[in-house]
Each structure stands twice: as structure tokens, then as C-alpha cells.
Assembly symmetry: C2
Homo-oligomer: 279 residues x 2
């Protein structure tokens, strides 16, 4: 009874992303971290030009000081304990202040490869959709699980961004692919099962590259991704103010930045507090 409605919802959401890519000359930004879940800073991001934002459950664990976690690595270990209600509250708050034209994709318990049994339920997806989500930000590690997520998302009008990881990554944030050929093949399969935006995890396993550059193995993987799919592509992981420009020429349509934004916000707080205390 709502298949047609949900298709329309998805078309509207897709349009937001295509508009963002066009507005930003071919490569737009998906802003996350503090700008994904704090309505004050999400609004600042959107007023500065961001057209896509992403609340996600590990970031919310940090925002809420859940069980005292203070690093993203620690947050990943217990992100599945964040509730769907908390994610819906954050999503609704961001939607309330950024307005309807901003694309919001939400990472929530069950959309990542979780360390505990954490099924994504129909009820949970509906909750996020009603809270204002346009899409699900997913990091499933197998095509099988990803297919289940895509189906439940599409049934309820949510698009899906999903990622390809590297087997050596510290946390598995996608389907592991060791070589550029595997990246291309897997990206095609992801598109075939209905993934709306296919991303590549970049940076997690490629330390030691010069500031401002992308390591060659990453470049090759990005090339393989970009030429294998027709849906918009993303790059996530390790993108910061030193290296973001290097992603511009690669054909990737959306760069995901979280930690680098958080670092800047934290540094600003650090400086203002120190100034106020130095008298």
C-alpha cells in the first residue's frame, strides 16, 4: 500500500544528493561527527553550505559520554548499545533545524557490522524515517547482510549508502576487498542489490602517506570504484583538511568528514577556554 509512496520519498531524497553534488561542482561533503548529531553545530554546518549530514551511533556514544567512552575506537566497541530512540531523537532534532532540503543519512544500531546480535527491525527503520531520515548510513561486512538492510530500508523509503573496506582495517566498516579488481567487482554487486550510494573506506590502513596526498593503493581502489558503478560514490575515513583536495580529482562524488570536523571544534573550545582562564 505504500510502495509507490516510498518510491517517491526515495526519489526526493536522491534529488537532494544530486543537487548537492551539482551545487558543489561534482564533489560534495557529507558532514558528520559533532555536525551530525548536535543540532547547534549541524545548523552551523548547513549554514556554511553543507547539504548532507550524518548522525551515527558511535558518534552519539561520544556525544552522550556513554559509559565514559572518549575515543572513536572505544565507541565502536559499544555503539550497538545506543538505542534506536536516541538515534531518532538526534535525527529529529537535526531535521527540525536544517529544514527539509538537507539529506540526512543515519547510522544506527544494526546498520553497521555490530559485535553483538543487533538486528535492524522494521520498527526501528520506520522510527528513523519518521524522525526525518532520508537514508541509512551502513557499514555491513557482507553482501548478504547488506541486502537485508537495503530491502528493509527501501520498503520504508530510505536510501542506503554502503561501503567497501580493506581486510586489514582495524574495524571492518564494509565489505572487505583486498585488490582494486575486487573493489570494482564488489561495487558492481552492491549496486546490483540496490545500494544507492557506494563508498570506499579510505585511510584506515594506509598510514605513512604524506600530508595532502592519497596513497597510491587508495587511489587505485578509488579509480576501480568510480569506473565500476553509475550511482554516486563516496570516500570515508581519514579525510581531513590536509588531504581532502586530493580527493577532488578522483571522481568521487561525496567525501565524508567527521573526525576532522570534531578536531577543529575541540581545538576551538580548547582555545576559548584557555583564553578565558589566562588572565
Amino acid at each position: 500500500m505504500i510502495i509507490g509512496d516510498m518510491k517517491q520519498k526515495m526519489e526526493l531524497a536522491r534529488k537532494k544528493v544530486l543537487n548537492a553534488i551539482e551545487e558543489h561542482q561534482g564533489t560534495t561533503l557529507l558532514a558528520t561527527g559533532v555536525t551530525g548529531d548536535d543540532a547547534r553545530l549541524a545548523l552551523a554546518a548547513v549554514q556554511a553550505g553543507a547539504r548532507m549530514v550524518e548522525p551515527n551511533h558511535p558518534a552519539l556514544a561520544l556525544a552522550r559520554g556513554y559509559k565514559g567512552v572518549t575515543s572513536m575506537h572505544a565507541a565502536e566497541e559499544l555503539r550497538h548499545e545506543i538505542t534506536m530512540e536516541q538515534m531518532a531523537e538526534a535525527t529529529r532534532g537535526v531535521r527540525n533545524v536544517v529544514g527539509k532540503d538537507i539529506y540526512i543519512t543515519v547510522g544506527a544500531p544494526g546498520t553497521f557490522a555490530e559485535v553483538m546480535p543487533t538486528p535492524l527491525t522494521e520498527e526501528g527503520v520506520v522510527l528513523l524515517a519518521k524522525a526525518g531520515a532520508d537514508g541509512l548510513h551502513t557499514h555491513k561486512a557482507t553482501l548478504e547482510d547488506l541486502k537485508d538492510v537495503v530491502d528493509i530500508a527501501h520498503r520504508n523509503g530510505l536510501l542506503v549508502d554502503a561501503y567497501i573496506a580493506h581486510p586489514a582495517d582495524r574495524h571492518l566498516f564494509g565489505i572487505p576487498c583486498a585488490t582494486p579488481i575486487e573493489v570494482g567487482d564488489t561495487a558492481k554487486r552492491m549496486q546490483d542489490i540496490g545500494v544507492d550510494f557506494v563508498g570506499l573506506m579510505t585511510g584506515m590502513s594506509y598510514e605513512g602517506v604524506k600530508a595532502g596526498e592519497i596513497a597510491d593503493p587508495v587511489k587505485e581502489r578509488i579509480e576501480a570504484l568510480v569506473k565500476s558503478v553509475t550511482v554516486p560514490t563516496l570516500a570515508e575515513g581519514g579525510i581531513n583538511l590536509d588531504n581532502f583536495k586530493a580527493f577532488m580529482g578522483t571522481g568521487v562524488k561525496i567525501i565524508v568528514v567527521g573526525t576532522a570536523i570534531d578536531d577543529v571544534a575541540r581545538k576551538a573550545v580548547d582555545q576559548v577556554i584557555k583564553t578565558l582562564l589566562q588572565h
Copy 2:
């Protein structure tokens, strides 16, 4: 059965404040806004030297995008709709990451002069205390209501910071006093009914003063406050990076800064997003 315990809890809390004042050469900072309720930024504030932080319900309305509010003025209109559970969650998260030696005072529905019947309940105060609060940040507009808040707070081991306002203020954030003499008299009465830290609202009604200075009428009110009580004093309202130094010589022990910190965080986000989008 817990009177002695709660006295001990209050002594420990008072010691945190006195230590902060001593550490910061006589005038310390109470950091609020984004540093009061977002565990990531509260931690940044504490790592930069802040020893007192304040989650409060209007700021949480902004953080959560509650009903779409984006200004402090709008947030004040519906702050009473934020729940005690939300305040406890924010308090617990901040406590989890900042550790036990930081003083946390919490503004919550019922601790301010609310626009709707919003009694502060024993249950609510216990919830905040268990979440990690050391004190209640209050803005009651009458001594009568303030006395009730002090009693319920002290019964449960929480200290109270309370404020003197100006009758012309846009929002009444304390007991209104038109003249310095009234300020002094009221401050004494507040101390007599058990208020642990007496503050003065500064800035809300005194536009037009030069950057970096305090208006003379405010200076006179601060002087009246400082010489009238023996408990530590606070100044709140309109304190920013331009004028905070002017408060140093006044004898005020604690300056409360929120909006100025939020502005800096927002500006940092604005700049990083613009940089990421300018390619």
C-alpha cells in the same frame, strides 16, 4: 538517615569549587553551552583547564533541536518541556568523561522560573544527583521559590548557585533588584536561606557599552554583591572574549560563559565546512 552523608557530599562539592577558584588565581570559569552538555566538548573544555561545567535545559533544547528552536530566546520559551531524564543523561555523560574532580551544576526543568507549572521533585533531584551532579544551577525569581529549591537540593546533597536579576531583563533569570542597595540586601538574604553561590546576571539589559568594558551600573551591582556575602560569587550573562577581563578585578569568583563558547565552536565549524567545500 542520609543527612550526614549529604553534608559530606556537599563539602566535597564545595571543595571542588574552592580549588577551582584557587587554581585560577581568584576567578574561575563555569563553562556551559556546548561544553555543558556535549561530552566531547565538555572533555575538551576540561582538558583546557575548566574545572566547572554546567549542562542546562535551554541549552539542551538547542542541542537536541527540540521543536526546531535555534536561538536561546526561543529555547527559553519551551525549556520546561525538556525532561529530567534528558538532563540526567547529559549530566551522566559529562560526568563519565570529565571525572570526579570537576564541579557539575545542572539547570533543569523546575530550577529556573518556568513559564508553566514545573515543580522540582525530590525524585528529579535524586536522579540528577545520581547522574553525577554536584549542584543545581537555578534562576528562581523569588526568595520563596528559591528557598524550596535550596531545601530539596541540600536534602539530596546538591549545592545551589542562584542569581540576582534586573527587573528590565528580557527573561527573568533571578530575583529582580533595581538598585545596588537591593542587590546587596537580596544577596545577603539568599546567603541566609542557604544559597551556596550567589550570582549576578550581567549584560542582558545593558547594551551599548564599549567592547571590553563593563557598564558602570553593572560594576556598581557587582561591587554591592561582592561586599555583601561571604560565599563565592558569580557573574553570568553577556560575558565574552571581549569583556571577560573586565570582570577579573571586580572580586567575582566565578564567571559563567556559554554563548561566547558556542559562538566560537560554531565559527570553527563554519570555517572548516567552507574550507572543505571550497575546492
